[in-house]
């Protein structure tokens, strides 16, 4: 077990480093840096001035070195201007250069400064992530029970009419991406065309005060796409369990069908969906980005779009660290949880 955990942890760290480096590289392409220089120092500056601005602000070093600084394993750059004033990555404006720390990167908790929102990245991500947290939580609370229920009901009696209906429903939901179901829901429930107006087509007000009226549509939109997938996995695992010897024995002994499903089949059938549900998290991120953009809910996904669209390097890097961390941690939990739930799996 210890060896397995160690290996997994090692792969995880290697993956995280590779991914953040790729994002770092792609956000720091020369044209992007040029854009930053122009937006900070004026859009009409010459190429030479761009060059000197980049030089002065520490962007001219080799990429790997700057990645190390951003990460916090290399000391931050410092530069002495002609008038003897010392500036540097770790030296706040107006602060004493001598008192500044040598390292200041993600590992030290310094996530950088957002050029678009004019706020520290860590602060933006914290507030936005908590908004998205509510969204995710509501989605899970709706999606998991509904999906498991559909899967279990469909898989209970394979080939029955109920199974056919529910399976077709799950296929239909997996065929409806968030941007399609979102558009459909807004048209049906929130537009002047049908005149139903049961819900609001925008979730902006939900950022301060979550109500059923402004929050249900975004939650339903994300949950619906995931329901089909989890339900199909649950159904597959349920049908497999229902054909097992011990279920037949229990039925032949005269235990009622209800009891067999609830007491014997369910627990074994829910092991496989557990992994699927855990692996849904990173994939929910996609849905979150789409739905937050569509419903104008200014959470993590919306921030990611803003950062990417406006070339806000530090914020985009911060967002990708969070996204990558979510993916890797859920992968780890799903692996460990699977082994823990299913004693037949041996880790080695």
């Amino acid at each position: 077990m210890a060896k397995f955990l160690f290996r997994r942890l090692f792969t995880m760290i290697a993956t995280a480093l590779c991914l953040t480096f790729i994002v770092f590289y792609l956000t720091n392409l020369p044209p992007n840096l040029e854009k930053i220089a122009k937006s900070e120092a004026g859009s009409r500056i010459s190429d030479a001035e761009v060059e000197s601005w980049l030089q002065k602000n520490g962007y001219a070093q080799p990429l790997l070195g700057r990645y190390g600084e951003w990460l916090g394993v290399l000391p931050g750059w410092t530069a002495t201007a002609a008038d003897g004033k010392v500036t540097g990555r770790c030296i706040a404006r107006g602060a004493d250069p001598a008192a500044a720390p040598r390292f200041c990167g993600v590992l030290q908790g310094n996530w950088g400064w957002s050029n678009v929102f004019k706020e520290p990245v860590s602060q933006i991500i914290a507030t936005r992530l908590s908004l998205t947290g509510w969204l995710m939580l509501s989605v899970m609370a709706l999606m998991v029970p509904v999906a498991l229920l559909i899967g279990v009901l469909a898989g209970m009696r394979e080939g029955s009419k109920l199974d056919r209906t529910l399976s077709t429903f799950s296929i239909a939901t997996t065929a409806t991406p968030e941007y399609v179901s979102g558009v459909l829901f807004i048209t049906i429930f929130a537009s002047s065309m049908t005149g139903l107006k049961w819900f609001k087509g925008s979730a902006t007000s939900a950022m301060d005060d979550i109500t059923f009226e402004n929050f249900f549509l975004p939650v339903l939109t994300i949950a619906l796409y995931g329901i089909g997938y989890i339900a199909r996995m649950t159904r597959a695992s349920m049908t497999e369990v229902m054909t097992a010897q011990y279920i037949r024995t229990a039925l032949l002994k005269g235990v009622s069908f209800r009891q067999v499903v609830l007491r014997h089949a369910l627990r074994n059938a829910l092991i496989a969906p557990f992994t699927v549900i855990m692996l849904q998290f990173p994939w929910l991120l996609n849905g979150v980005v789409i739905v937050e953009t569509l419903f104008n809910y200014k959470g993590f996904g919306w921030t990611l779009v803003q950062a990417a669209g406006n070339n806000d390097i530090d914020l985009l890097l911060g967002c990708s660290v969070v996204a990558v961390a979510v993916v890797l941690i859920t992968q780890l939990i799903s692996d460990i949880g699977y082994a823990w739930l299913n004693p037949r799996i041996r880790l080695s």
Binding site: A175, P177, Y179, V180, N286, I290, A323
Partner: protein, 396 residues
């Protein structure tokens, strides 16, 4: 002229699709009458789910083929007075030779929603299957040896595949599908080695590589035939390859807009690792079978075993996954369009149209609703088709 009512719109629209109905009827009549001789494809017509899916998919395929006949207007033409027109609105100034109604209304730039939906099917149905096919070629070419040989090769390739899979898709698109990225990179003989171009050069080489190995593994004992097949593959393949990856087709037949290339490569890149994992898993399962052991005892080479023993036996799950993956790719392309990263702003593809229509969603929902329903029905068709195929292929 009066505006059309709901029933009239419906009837007229069904009428506009006449070539599609004829083609569909012909396909079904022929397929059903010969279904016992058509293998897995024929057995599809035994399952109602598979048939429904196939009908939906073929409806869009034929719509894409006959888009010029079905569409009522030029998808890019703006007709004055038709901005955000309601479905069935007549043209303000009817002109001879131009269809007199906007069947599904106009969008915010006064273009015909119906025609854009129909022509959009064409762009969706060329890019999505092609991108999926390239992803499959790359995934199969790398997945087979990874699963068959195992060891370091497998560890390395799996690490890279997991790396790509751990990358949030939307973030990757935002980083890869930007105009800046196309301008970065050293110039080599007039070809810019930017990231999308390099990725295209690598990913587009896989089909050629795959086919060459395929022919060589089978026919290396009869060099004349081998040379013929490999030669044909190389001539055709390198011609297309030069055109698509390097924009250097001397005849100008194979060419891809840089914007489209960027989108295409990103979609292939996202899909290939999943295919790789599937192929690798199946190969690891199949390599312990008796027929593989028999081939090994006969002294066949590893590539022959992988391509001519393992791969044909893995075709069932791969065909099913291919259908599903076209649907997934369609969704991905729609996502790209939804974020405005698509092919080009005025392109009629469904994702971009949804993106353009969503700003006025609660007042004029039709321009976004129509492509949304179109996309949903196509993906639903592909999923049902995959389900039917899976069911029928399991019956063996």
């Amino acid at each position: 002229m009066d505006a059309l009512g709901f029933t009239q719109i419906l009837v007229t629209m069904i009428g506009r699709f006449w070539p599609v109905w004829i083609a569909l009827a012909l396909t079904f009549a022929l397929s059903i009458s010969f279904k016992r001789r058509l293998g897995l494809y024929g057995r599809l017509f035994d399952s109602p789910i598979g048939m429904t899916g196939f009908a939906l998919v073929m409806f869009w395929v034929f719509t894409a083929l006959f888009a010029n006949i079905v569409a009522t207007h030029d998808p890019l033409a703006q007709i004055s007075g038709m901005k955000n027109a309601l479905p069935g609105s007549p043209l303000k100034n009817p002109v001879e030779g131009i269809y007199a109604h906007y069947l599904l209304g106009g969008d915010n730039l006064a273009r015909d929603v119906f025609s854009r939906m129909v022509v959009g099917a064409r762009s969706v149905l060329t890019i999505a299957p092609a991108a999926t096919a390239f992803a499959f070629m790359a995934g199969i070419t790398l997945g087979l040896p990874a699963g068959y040989f195992g060891g370091r090769l497998d560890t390395g390739l799996s690490f890279v595949a997991n790396l790509v899979l751990a990358f949030p898709v939307i973030l990757m698109f935002y980083l890869l599908v930007t105009p800046e990225i196309r301008e970065t990179g050293p110039l080599l003989l007039g070809w810019r080695a930017s990231i999308p171009n390099v990725m295209a050069a690598i990913l587009f080489a896989f089909p050629i590589l795959f086919l060459c190995i395929l022919w060589n593994a089978r026919f290396f004992t009869t060099p004349a035939r081998r040379n013929l097949y490999v030669g044909i593959t190389l001539v055709l393949g390198l011609w297309i390859y030069a055109g698509l990856a390097f924009r250097a087709d001397p005849f100008g037949l194979w060419i891809m807009e840089p914007n489209l290339l960027n989108v295409f490569v990103s979609v292939v890149f996202v899909n290939a690792p999943t295919v790789f994992r599937i192929v690798r898993g199946i190969t690891m399962d199949l390599k312990s079978r008796d027929y593989v052991a028999a081939a090994q005892t006969r002294g066949e080479g590893p590539w022959y075993i992988m391509l001519w023993e393992v791969l044909p036996n893995a075709r069932g799950p791969l065909i099913v996954d291919f259908c599903l993956r076209i649907g997934y790719t369609t969704i991905l392309l729609g996502t790209l369009g939804f974020f405005g990263l698509g092919v080009s702003p005025e392109s009629p593809d469904w994702g971009s149209t949804i993106n353009a229509g969503r700003k006025l969603l609660s007042i004029f929902p039709v321009p976004a609703l129509v492509p949304a329903v179109a996309l949903m029905s196509l993906v639903l068709g592909l999923n049902l088709l995959a389900d039917g195929l899976r069911e029928e292929s399991l019956k063996d």
